[in-house]
C-alpha cells in the first residue's frame, strides 16, 4: 500500500497532470482523425519528450497510447473508416449499427466497452505487480534472450497470410541493428561509409517508417474529406446498456490483458479471440458483422485492455511487445532508467505511478468524450492531403531536433519511402522495429549467457528458460497445425477480397 501511495505522490505535480491531460485528450483527437494513428504521434513527439522528466514524458506518450483507440472508434462507427489500425474490427459491427440509425447507441457501447476494458486491464496489472516483482528477478540473460526470441517468432507468426513477408522484414530489422561498430570496435556492415559507422538510430527509422511514410502516403494519394453526421442525444445514458453485456466485456478485457502481456502478439490477436468468444456465446451469432452489439463490445474492450498489459514485458523484462512500447523503451534509455527486473524490484512506485496515470487517463478520456463527441466529428473533417502537410512539418521537428543532422533526415526520408511502399502493399512495419530492438537485446543477452553455457542443454536447465523454450516449440507446432487445418477450408483466390484490410495504412 505504501508503494501505491508513493506512486500517487510521484504524480502529484502540475507538469505530470498537464502531461496527462494533453496526452489523453490529444490522443483521442489523434486517434479520431483517420490517417494519424498513435504511432505517428508518438514517433513525432519522442525527441521532444527527451528534455522532460521520465515520468512527464512517459505520461504524455502513455496518454496518447491509451486514449487513441477511444478516438479511433468514432470514425470506425460513423464513417466506416477506422481511426487507428486496431479499430478495424469495430467497423464490422459499428457501421452497420449507424446505418440502422443506431449511431449513438454504437458510440455509447464502444466508449463504455473501451473504458471497461481499459480499467479492467489496469486493475489486473496493479494486482499482478507484486507477483511480477517476485518473478522478474528470476529472469537472467538466458530467459530474456528466449523471451525476446519468442517475441520475434510471435510477431512473425501473428501476421497471418503475410508470414514470409513479416519474417523477411523482422530479419531486415535485425540487420539494421547490426550496422555500425561492433563490441570489438570493428566496422560491421558499414561498406566503408562514415555515416553508417554510428549505425541506424531507432528514432530516425521509426519516424521515417511511421510518420514520414504516412505524410508521403496522404500527400500522394487522392484527397478525401470525412463527413460524419452529428450525434443527437446523450452518450452517457446509452452506456447503461453495457451492463447487459458485462460478461462479454469482461472476457474481452481478459483476452486483452493476456495477449497484451505476450510480446509480439497484441491487439489483433486479443480482438480475434474475444470476437470468436463473443460470437460463440451470443444467442444471435448471425448478426455478427451486421451490427451485433456484442461484436462491437468484444473488439473495443479487448483492444483497450492491451496497452496496460503491454507495459508488463516492457517494464518487467525490458522487452517491448510492439512498435509503440519499442518507442517508449527509447525514452527510458535516454533518461538512464533501465526497464527490467531491477526496475520492478527497486522502483515499484514508479511502475505504480505509470499504472495510476493510465487509470486517470481513462477517466479523463471518458469525461471528454461524453461532452465532446460532436466537436470531434467536426475536427476530423480535415482534408487528407492537408493533413499530410501537417504531418510532414511535424515530422521535421522529430527528426531534425534529434541531432540537427541532414543525414538523419535523408535516412528518415528513405525509410519514409520504404514505409509508404509497405503500407501500400499492406505489409507490416512493426516487424522491422521489433527486429531492430529485440535483435539488439538478443545479441547482448545471448553473448552474456554463453559465458556459463557449456552444452546446449545448459541453456534450458533453469525452469523459466525451459518453459520459454517449450513455448517457442509449441507456438511453432501450433502454427503448422493451423496452416494444415486452414489449407483444407481455404477460400478460392477469386473469392478473396484483397481490399478487405488496410490495417497497415494507419
Amino acid at each position: 500500500m505504501d508503494t501505491i501511495l508513493s506512486g500517487v505522490e510521484l504524480l502529484m505535480r502540475w507538469d505530470v497532470m498537464a502531461a496527462l491531460l494533453i496526452g489523453s485528450i490529444g490522443g483521442v483527437i489523434i486517434g479520431a482523425i483517420p490517417g494519424v494513428g498513435a504511432a505517428v504521434a508518438i514517433a513525432i513527439l519522442l525527441p521532444a519528450t527527451f528534455s522532460l522528466d521520465p515520468i512527464v514524458g512517459l505520461t504524455i506518450l502513455l496518454g496518447i497510447y491509451g486514449s487513441s483507440m477511444y478516438g479511433g472508434a468514432l470514425p470506425a462507427i460513423l464513417i466506416n473508416t477506422p481511426g487507428t489500425a486496431v479499430n478495424a474490427l469495430t467497423t464490422y459491427d459499428g457501421y452497420p449499427m449507424t446505418k440502422r440509425g443506431e449511431a449513438r447507441r454504437a458510440l455509447a457501447l464502444a466508449y463504455g466497452a473501451s473504458f471497461w476494458g481499459g480499467v479492467f486491464g489496469i486493475l489486473c496489472l496493479i494486482l499482478l505487480s507484486p507477483l511480477l516483482a517476485l518473478i522478474a528477478p528470476h529472469f537472467g540473460s538466458r530467459e530474456i534472450f528466449l523471451a525476446a526470441l519468442l517475441g520475434i517468432i510471435l510477431v512473425v507468426l501473428a501476421h497471418r497470410g503475410q508470414v514470409f513477408a513479416a519474417g523477411m522484414l523482422a530479419a531486415f530489422g535485425i540487420l539494421l541493428h547490426t550496422v555500425g561498430l561492433d563490441v570489438k570496435y570493428n566496422q560491421r556492415m558499414t561498406f566503408d561509409q562514415s555515416w553508417l559507422t554510428g549505425g541506424f538510430n531507432l528514432i530516425v527509422v521509426v519516424l521515417g517508417l511511421f510518420a514520414l511514410s504516412q505524410a508521403f502516403l496522404l500527400l500522394t494519394d487522392k484527397d478525401n474529406t470525412p463527413e460524419p453526421q452529428p450525434i443527437t442525444g446523450s452518450i452517457l445514458s446509452g452506456m447503461k446498456e453495457l451492463w447487459v453485456y458485462r460478461k462479454v466485456a469482461t472476457a474481452a478485457g481478459s483476452f486483452g490483458v493476456l495477449m497484451g502481456m505476450v510480446p509480439g502478439v497484441g491487439e489483433f490477436t486479443a480482438q480475434f479471440l474475444s470476437y470468436t468468444y463473443a460470437r460463440k456465446q451470443s444467442k444471435t451469432p448471425e448478426l455478427f458483422g451486421d451490427g451485433a452489439p456484442e461484436g462491437l463490445i468484444a473488439s473495443e474492450a479487448a483492444n483497450n485492455a492491451v496497452p496496460a498489459a503491454a507495459m508488463i514485458p516492457l517494464l518487467a523484462l525490458g522487452i517491448p511487445g510492439e512498435a509503440l512500447t519499442a518507442m517508449m523503451l527509447s525514452v527510458f534509455y535516454v533518461h538512464n532508467v533501465i526497464p527490467g527486473p531491477q526496475l520492478f524490484q527497486n522502483q515499484l512506485d514508479f511502475v505504480y505511478a505509470l499504472y495510476i496515470a493510465m487509470l486517470l487517463l481513462n477517466v479523463i478520456v471518458m469525461v471528454f468524450l461524453i461532452f465532446s463527441t460532436n466537436l470531434l466529428t467536426k475536427i476530423i473533417q480535415v482534408p487528407t492531403r492537408f493533413l499530410g502537410m501537417i504531418i510532414l512539418i511535424l515530422s521535421f521537428v522529430g527528426v531534425y531536433s534529434l541531432r540537427n543532422s541532414v543525414v538523419d533526415c535523408v535516412i528518415a526520408s528513405a525509410f519514409g519511402l520504404l514505409g509508404l511502399v509497405l503500407k501500400r502493399l499492406n505489409l507490416p512495419l512493426v516487424p522491422i522495429i521489433l527486429g531492430m530492438v529485440l535483435g539488439g537485446i538478443m545479441e547482448v543477452k545471448l553473448r552474456s549467457s554463453m559465458v556459463r553455457v557449456k552444452t546446449p542443454l545448459d541453456f534450458v536447465e533453469r525452469p523459466i528458460a525451459a518453459i520459454l523454450a517449450l513455448m517457442i516449440l509449441l507456438v511453432i507446432a501450433m502454427h503448422i497445425r493451423t496452416l494444415v487445418k486452414e489449407h483444407k477450408t481455404r477460400l478460392a483466390e477469386a473469392d478473396i477480397d484483397h481490399d478487405l484490410h488496410d490495417t497497415q495504412q494507419r
Binding site: P47, Y92, H159, R160, G161, Q162, F164, A165, G167, M168, A170, A171, I174, L175, K184, N186, R188, M189, F191, A215, F216, L217, L219, T220, D223, F268, F272, Y275, T276, R385, F386, G388, L392, I393, L394, S395, F396, V397, Y400, S401, N404, V406, S413, G416, L420, V421, R424, L425, G435, G439, L446, R447, M450, L491, E493, I496, D497, H498, L500, H501
Partner: protein, 178 residues
C-alpha cells in the same frame, strides 16, 4: 462487403498490386547483402554465438530464406491488375521526399519560423488548396508549431543564418525563440 467465410479470413492480410515487384527487389537486396557478408564482418574467435559476425549472418540468411519464399508465393498466386500503376504511385511519392529535404535545407539558412511558414504555404498551394481559409490555416499552423516546439519546449533547432543580419537585440531573441 465482407466475403470471408471463416473468422480466420477476417484477420488475414491479402496481397496488393505491386507485390511481385517488391518481392523481387527485396530478394535482390538480400542477395546483395549475402554477397557482401564476407567483406563486411569478421569472425575472430571460435565462440560462434558470441561473435559480432553471428547476428549479421543470422539476419541475412533469414532475409534470403523468407524473401525467396515470399517471391515464390507471389509468383504462384494469380496476377492482380494494376502492378505498374502502383509502382507509378511509389515513384510519384518521391516528390514529397524532395519537398521534405528542401525544407530541411531551408531551416538552418532562413530560420525555423520563416522556413516553416514559407514551406507550409508553398506545399498547401502545390496541393491545390489555394483558398484563403486553407492558406490562413497553414500559416497559423506553421506559427503554432514553432511556438510549441521551439519557443515553449525549446527543442534543438538551430537559428537561421539570415538572423545574423538582424539588430543585436532582435537577433538573440530570434535565435532563442524562433
Amino acid at each position: 462487403m465482407i466475403k470471408a467465410k471463416t473468422l480466420q479470413d477476417l484477420f488475414k492480410r491479402y496481397r496488393r498490386p505491386g507485390d511481385l515487384v517488391f518481392a523481387i527487389v527485396f530478394l535482390v537486396f538480400s542477395i546483395a547483402m549475402a554477397a557482401s557478408l564476407g567483406s563486411q564482418v569478421k569472425w575472430t574467435s571460435s565462440k560462434i554465438f558470441s561473435e559480432p559476425a553471428f547476428w549479421p549472418y543470422v539476419s541475412v540468411i533469414c532475409m534470403l530464406v523468407f524473401s525467396a519464399l515470399h517471391l515464390v508465393s507471389s509468383l504462384a498466386s494469380p496476377v492482380i491488375a494494376g502492378r505498374w500503376r502502383e509502382v507509378g504511385f511509389w515513384i510519384r511519392s518521391v516528390e514529397f521526399a524532395v519537398w521534405f529535404m528542401v525544407y530541411v535545407l531551408m531551416v538552418p539558412r532562413l530560420g525555423y519560423l520563416p522556413s516553416t511558414i514559407i514551406f507550409a504555404l508553398a506545399l498547401t498551394s502545390r496541393l491545390g488548396y489555394r483558398q484563403a481559409k486553407y492558406l490562413g490555416a497553414a500559416t497559423l499552423f506553421a506559427i503554432g508549431v514553432v511556438l510549441v516546439f521551439k519557443t515553449f519546449l525549446q527543442v534543438k533547432v538551430p537559428g537561421g543564418q539570415i538572423y545574423e543580419y538582424l539588430p543585436t537585440a532582435a537577433r538573440s531573441f530570434m535565435l532563442t525563440y524562433f
